[in-house]
Every structure is written in structure tokens, then in C-alpha cells.
């Protein structure tokens, strides 16, 4: 017998073993069943059906027509607005992604240092923006005439002489959307980190105190962060999704399309082709490019995080 084959199982044996394991874990499958059935019908099936759409010409009236890679070639070679939107999305993601991730963690930690009653109040204050649909109020703050709150404050202080067109001036459009997105971004990730902090066993801290941990920083680095790995990963995924797929905020705030496409993200571009021009095939090609980018960033971050956690 070959030396390499010793200790290895044949394919048939392997299959039998898997079948045996599956039988042993009957209960597990049964417990997942309700979720997985609904998930399969209403999420997996539509997603799988949408995957090939990027290779078609589909206007929602006629059946999709296969066009090969032409959507993708047009996208990168002939669509200058798409290239512009990549740049906008990257700037947007770099500013809102890491910054708000750090902010989520920092605030969740600082809040955890306070009295329980204050914890609830501060968590609510920071989380409320993502709960409410009130970002239209920013329109009043950044309003271009002197009735806008920001303009009127700046005029009163004498910093500016005439009102600034925050929402239509190409110079400010992207900055304004980034500020509002940051304001909105303490959402799911922030709340899951708060839950993570609350789930840490108190006895660990007491043990730490006996072992000679001197201050908050040491406690954070030696006890808290190592036991928060899963929540940190969840928050990272949430931040990737929200920073890469941002678009609705910009659309309702600075208009659609924004001045000189200065706040035109990839998602806005997909919206433009999908729901304005009804070129669904092209729109789904755009979404596919975005998905691949997000997938790669996710892989990268989970690698970094897992290295750091171990």
C-alpha cells in the first residue's frame, strides 16, 4: 500500500462519515430549519436570481437578453461618471468607515465607564440618529439662504459675509454628506459593541485588579478587547456595508444628481440606471462591482482582526 494513503479515507468512506455526522446532528438542523427556509426563499433565491442579471440587457418590460461582458466593459471604459463615482465612494468610505468604526468603539467604551442610568441615556443619544428618519432636518441646518442655522450663526459671528450654498456648491457637497453620514453612523455596530461590553464577565475585571492592572487603558487592552473579538467583527461588517452603500442620504440632502456629480456614489449610480433609466442589467453590473469590492475589504479586515485577536 502507498505510504501516503495510510490514515486517509476513501471517498465513499468520507461520504458515509459525513452522513453519520449529519444524522448525529439532526437536532441542529431542525433548530435552524425555520430560519433557513424563510431565508432561502426570500433572500437566497432572489440573490441567486439577480447574480446573472449583470450579463444581460434588462429593462423590466422585456425578458432579459444575454449580452456577455459588454455591461462591464462599458462600465470601466466608457462611463466616466462611474469612474468618478468610484472616487467619491472611496473618499466617502475612507472618511466614514474607519473613523466611525473607531468612534463606535471609543464611545461604547467610554459610555461603559459611567453610571448605569447615564449609560442608557448616552447610548440613546448616540444611537437615536440612526433610529430616526430626521436627517431632513440637516437640510434646514445647511440651508443655502440666511435662514439656514449654520449660515445664520456664521453670519452673526462675522465669519462669512454672504450665505454659503452648502447643499449646491460643488466644493462643500461631499463634505456635508460625510458629516451627516458620520452623524448617522453610530448604528448597529455601536449598539452591538455596547452589548459586547455589557456581556463581559465582571469577575474578569476583579481578577485583573488583583493581578495588578493599574488603569482603564490596561484593562481595555488586556481584558476587554481580547474578549470582544466577535462584536468587533460584526461592527466591522456593518461599517463596511453602511460606508460603501451610502447614497440615500446624499440623494435626499444635496439632490440627485448632485452638483457636478460631486457626491455621486456607486450606489447612487446604480439607482440612476436602475430606477430612473430602467436599465436593470447595467445597474446590477454596477452593484456586482461594488459587492466584489466590499467582499475583498471584508476578507482583509477579518484577516487583520483575527490576527490581532489571537
Amino acid at each position: 500500500m502507498d505510504n501516503a494513503a495510510i490514515g486517509k479515507r476513501s471517498k465513499a468512506e468520507n461520504r458515509r462519515l459525513i452522513w453519520l455526522q449529519m444524522k448525529q446532528n439532526k437536532e441542529c438542523y431542525l433548530m435552524m430549519l425555520p430560519f433557513m427556509v424563510i431565508f432561502f426563499i426570500f433572500t437566497t433565491v432572489p440573490v441567486v436570481m439577480s447574480l446573472p442579471m449583470g450579463f444581460t440587457d434588462f429593462d423590466m418590460v422585456q425578458l432579459p437578453k444575454f449580452v456577455g461582458l459588454s455591461n462591464y466593459t462599458t462600465l470601466f471604459l466608457n462611463d466616466s461618471i462611474f469612474v468618478q463615482s468610484i472616487r467619491v465612494t472611496l473618499v466617502f468610505a475612507i472618511f466614514t468607515g474607519p473613523l466611525s468604526y473607531v468612534l463606535c468603539f471609543l464611545l461604547a467604551w467610554l459610555i461603559n465607564e459611567l453610571h448605569p442610568k447615564l449609560k442608557t441615556i448616552f447610548t440613546l443619544i448616540f444611537y437615536a440618529p440612526s433610529m430616526a428618519n430626521v436627517y431632513t432636518v440637516w437640510q434646514l441646518i445647511f440651508s443655502g439662504d440666511s435662514y439656514g442655522y449654520l449660515n445664520s450663526v456664521l453670519l452673526n459671528l462675522g465669519i462669512i459675509n454672504s450665505p454659503i450654498q452648502w447643499l449646491t456648491d460643488g466644493e462643500y457637497v461631499l463634505g456635508v454628506t460625510i458629516v451627516v453620514q458620520l452623524w448617522l453612523s453610530l448604528g448597529a455596530g455601536f449598539l452591538s459593541l455596547r452589548a459586547g461590553f455589557q456581556n463581559i464577565d465582571r469577575s474578569q475585571y476583579e481578577a485583573g485588579a488583583i493581578e495588578g492592572i493599574k488603569n482603564r487603558w490596561q484593562e481595555l487592552i488586556y481584558i476587554t478587547i481580547p474578549s470582544m473579538g466577535p462584536q468587533l467583527m460584526f461592527a466591522a461588517v456593518m461599517q463596511i456595508v453602511s460606508s460603501f452603500t451610502a447614497g440615500t442620504v446624499a440623494q435626499s440632502l444635496v439632490g440627485f444628481p448632485s452638483t457636478d456629480y460631486k457626491a455621486h456614489t456607486i450606489m447612487t449610480h446604480a439607482y440612476d440606471y436602475g430606477w430612473v433609466r430602467y436599465e436593470m442589467g447595467y445597474a446590477s453590473a454596477i452593484c456586482m462591482v461594488l459587492f466584489i469590492a466590499m467582499f475583498l475589504v471584508n476578507k482583509l479586515i477579518s484577516k487583520i482582526l483575527s490576527k490581532y485577536m489571537d
Binding site: Q21, N25, C28, Y29, M31, M32, P34, I38, F39, I41, F42, T43, T44, P46, V47, M49, S50, M53, L107, E113, K119, T120, F122, T123, L124, I125, F126, A128, M131, V134, W138, I141, S146, Y147, G148, Y149, S152, A188, L191, S192, A195, N199, Y205, G208, A209, N215, Q218, S227, P230, Q231, V237, V241, M267, W275, M280, A283, S284, C287, F295, N298
Partner: protein, 290 residues
């Protein structure tokens, strides 16, 4: 700062100085003010009378508070074809169904995915993350096709089912459950508990913070379900849809729109407060238990 004594008493941890805690408090207070300002403005706008909406310079407070905007909104709402109570019922019914079903199903699935080794586990975990990352506007069309095939258009199912299996809630629970020591589950197994009992009697009571967070997410998402093209029968529409209609048809739009936003914000905040209170109580308990 009368709270500092209490603050100190609540922290039995190493190296807590009052100065540090006060500094943290002040920092959070300043940042919190900035965060809360727009929401405060929205609330103020919602109780401003029309003639105060357009004064220069814009005021941060109300001189003459009024509930006209809310009255305006409710007047528009009660003028619709279907009685207002029907919309309220639709929203409450859908929200309760989605929240309960989602929390129960996602908790069980998350427990299995986090703590059991079985063929297909890794694959399913991967699928969940990928489905979080994949956002495409074609999905809605495909969802519509699936729903139409199942004959669910214009039924409560169309509002409820697509939101029940949320990959986000599952992922949240799964991540949180990976920190449970295997020894705990093994011990329960030795004692003869089956997986279902372990999940609900042993694991879930230890996961209250994550569970409460999930309830907040689920409630918030369910409360904002609009139905869109899946439901076009007037008697099946939910509050967000009609409140938006009312907001865009009001006399002084800005005021009524803000009133609508503030009105819709109240239930999620109530749920949030209840959930947070629960988390803090459990933490106190587990402190004694340990």
C-alpha cells in the same frame, strides 16, 4: 456633580479615578450635545407654529408652542379611505409578528451555527456574511417575482415574511454566542439536556445584552416596513407609508414632516428604553451569581 459618588461605587474595577470619570462625562456630554442637536431641532420644528418657521435669524427654541402640526397630520390621516385605526393595527400586527418570529428563529439558528459542529456549518456562516454584503437593487424585483409566484402579493405575508429571516440579527447573535464556553454546553449535555433546552434554558439567559440589541434592531426594522410594491391595497398599508403621504401633503410642509418623523420615532425609543433597562438589570443579577 452629585453622581460621581455613585459612579465610583458602581465601579469595583481597578484604577478608577474620579477625575477620569468626570472627564469622560464632560467629553460625552459635549459630543452628545452635537449629536442630539438635529433631533432637538426636529422636535422644536414639530411644535412651531407656521409663522415661526420662517423668521430670521432662525431660533433654537419655540416662542409660542403649538400642536397644530400634529393636528394637521392626524386630520390628513383621518381623511383617508381607510380608518386611521386600521393603519395602526397593520403596523402593530406586522411589527409584533416580525419581531417575535425573527428573535425566536434567529436565536435558535445562531446558537446552532455558533456552537455545533456539523457538516455545512462553515458554508452557512459564509452565506450569511455574503448576504449582508450583497446589496443590489435587482433583489427587490426578484423578491417580487418570488412573492408573485407564491401568491403573496397584497397579503400580510408579503409584509411579514421577507423581514423575518434577517441575516444581520442572525450574525449579531452568532457572534455574541461564540464567546460562550464550550464546557457549559458540554456540562448540560452530560446532564441530559437536548439542544433545544440548552439553547433556551442555558445559553439565552446568558445572552440578554445581545438579545435586547436584537429586539431593538428587529423592532426598528419592522416598524419601518413599508410594503412598497408588494402591497398596494389601501387596507393593508402600514403607518410609515401613510404618515409619509400626510407629511408631503401638509400646509406647512417642514413642520408637518417633522411632526410625522417625531411621531414615528416614539415607539422605537420606548422599546429601546425598556430593552436597555433589562440589560442593566441582568448584569446586576449575573454579578451576584458569579
Amino acid at each position: 456633580m452629585t453622581d460621581t459618588k455613585k459612579l465610583k461605587a458602581s465601579n469595583k474595577q481597578a484604577g478608577r479615578k474620579i477625575g477620569g470619570t468626570v472627564a469622560i462625562f464632560v467629553f460625552l456630554l459635549l459630543l452628545g450635545t452635537f449629536m442630539a442637536l438635529p433631533i432637538y431641532l426636529a422636535c422644536v420644528m414639530s411644535i412651531k407654529p407656521v409663522h415661526e418657521l420662517f423668521v430670521f435669524p432662525p431660533k433654537l427654541y419655540v416662542i409660542d408652542p403649538t400642536l397644530d402640526n400634529f393636528k394637521d397630520m392626524f386630520a390628513t390621516l383621518s381623511d383617508m379611505w381607510v380608518p386611521f385605526s386600521r393603519y395602526v393595527f397593520n403596523s402593530v400586527f406586522v411589527t409584533v409578528c416580525v419581531t417575535v418570529a425573527q428573535c425566536v428563529f434567529a436565536s435558535m439558528a445562531a446558537f446552532v451555527l455558533a456552537k455545533c459542529k456539523f457538516p455545512g456549518n462553515k458554508f452557512l456562516n459564509g452565506v450569511i456574511v455574503v448576504s449582508l454584503l450583497y446589496q443590489s437593487n435587482v433583489i427587490y424585483i426578484m423578491q417580487y417575482i418570488v412573492m408573485a409566484q407564491l401568491g403573496m402579493i397584497n397579503t400580510y405575508w408579503a409584509l411579514i415574511l421577507p423581514s423575518v429571516a434577517s441575516p444581520m440579527c442572525l450574525y449579531l447573535m452568532r457572534q455574541s454566542m461564540t464567546t460562550i464556553p464550550d464546557a457549559m454546553i458540554e456540562a448540560a449535555k452530560v446532564d441530559g439536556a437536548n439542544m433545544f433546552t440548552i439553547c433556551w434554558k442555558i445559553v439565552m439567559p446568558n445572552q440578554k445584552p445581545a438579545l435586547m440589541t436584537m429586539i431593538i434592531f428587529a423592532f426598528q426594522a419592522a416598524w419601518n416596513i413599508q410594503g412598497g410594491t408588494l402591497v398596494y391595497k389601501e387596507s393593508l398599508k402600514t403607518l410609515p407609508t401613510v404618515v409619509q403621504q400626510a407629511a408631503s401633503s401638509g400646509l406647512a410642509r417642514a413642520g408637518v414632516a417633522m411632526a410625522a418623523a417625531v411621531f414615528m420615532l416614539i415607539p422605537p425609543i420606548v422599546i429601546f428604553m425598556i430593552a436597555q433597562k433589562n440589560v442593566i438589570e441582568t448584569m446586576a443579577h449575573s454579578g451576584i451569581k458569579d
